[in-house]
Amino acid sequence: MARITASVFTSHVPAIGAALDLGKTQEPYWQPLFAGYEFSKQWMKDNKPDVVFLVFNDHATAFSMDMIPTFAIGTAAEYSPADEGWGPRPVPKVAGHPELASHIAQSVIQQDFDLTLINKMDVDHGLTVPLSLMCGEKDPHKDAWPCPVIPFAVNVVQYPAPSGQRCFNLGRAIRRAVESYDEDLNVHIWGTGGMSHQLQGARAGLINADWDNRFLDRLIAEPAELAKVPHIEYVREAGSEGIELVMWLIARGAMADVNGAGPAPRVAHRFFHVPASNTAVGHLILEEAAR
């Protein structure tokens, strides 16, 4: 049976991708940020998953104003890095896992979550920056990502984004879906985006490190309570784009302890850094207890 063995949480700031792609990782501005992911790259090698279920949001790339799905799961065999206006990131194509994705879609829809199915999509920095941070730099042609990825897109562009509670409950449904898949697969679930940031208006540049660190504390220790935080608190305290953090609750909701299936996860790694461009960067790795 497939099982979720770890969850990973990280910001997906586009400037991080640009810093990687332009060879700036050792510049004084960027060095402390990338140092925070050194552990993570080794951890990925030591704990290589068979599949990553990657929760992210599209930033007006694959989805224009033509259609705005609240939750959309990628069931394609492959996804190309998108041209977001600066040209595509020079990273490998992303292999999908159509069989597991289709299984999860069927199971989760039957658990009353109405997912949109995506069979063709280019993936933007929301998906590729976390892969680069966790897997290291990759040649777009000679290298490949270490495993297939199931992209799961959440609308956080047009209000209202789904609530934290809805996201948390969805994570629980995804866990049930994964565990009902026959093949023995080691699955990681990643929640990306955030932390505090605001990209617009007179309040652009907002950072709330205290709130962010409290969010990390609560995500680890009391996620069910954290899920009750309403949309307006994210906007007010963490900035208009800080709402991306609801996506972290999908990944957290898929862990054993909040599904009556095991002890609290182990914190393998925790990192927080300000700034990356306009944004506070947070990062966690939570491991399930061995079974």
Binding site: E84, L199, A204, L206, I207, A209, A280
Partner: protein
């Protein structure tokens, strides 16, 4: 019954909701067209002519021509869509975000390196933080917007 908008009292912030989305539909779709290299070239060759191809309001066209992102936002633009204009101009997200504050690029960058904009005084309209309407535009070249009151005063009404 009107849509509930609990976020209207956050200073210096426009939430891209259904109303903004309707207002900004063609502005944002114009921005989306700049994802294609050939459209970026046509836009750069004659901005006015390219904008006239889209059924936007004249105000939205003026806001784009002026590269006034706050104005674009007020007329329904969404920052992720407006970022395509910045990409066409070769500007980073930090340059775009900074341009909305009145600060110079260096001032904004320094603020971020220093830990970002403080939340204090910037949670609710009527406080006295640096994102409040009576403190705009920001930056050393706009001394009129410098603090006039003790930092914890809340006497300014919305």
């Amino acid at each position: 019954m009107a849509l509930e908008k609990p976020y209207m009292d956050v200073p210096g912030t426009i939430i891209f909701d259904a109303e903004q989305s309707r207002k900004g539909y063609w502005l944002n779709q114009f921005c989306m067209s700049l994802m294609k290299a050939e459209n970026r070239e046509r836009f750069k060759a004659d901005e006015r002519a390219y904008l006239d191809e889209w059924p936007m309001t004249e105000e939205q066209r003026q806001a784009v021509l002026a590269r006034d992102l706050n104005w674009c936002m007020r007329t329904g633009g969404n920052i992720y869509f407006l970022a395509k204009i910045g990409a066409t101009d070769g500007r980073s997200f930090q340059q775009m975000a900074g341009s909305m504050t009145g600060m110079t690029e260096q001032e904004y960058r320094d603020m971020m390196v220093g830990g970002g904009r403080s939340i204090e005084g910037n949670r609710y309209l009527g406080e006295d933080g640096n994102a409040q309407p009576h403190r705009q535009p920001q930056g050393a070249s706009h001394p009129a917007a410098a603090p006039q009151q003790p930092p914890h005063s809340t006497s300014k009404g919305a």
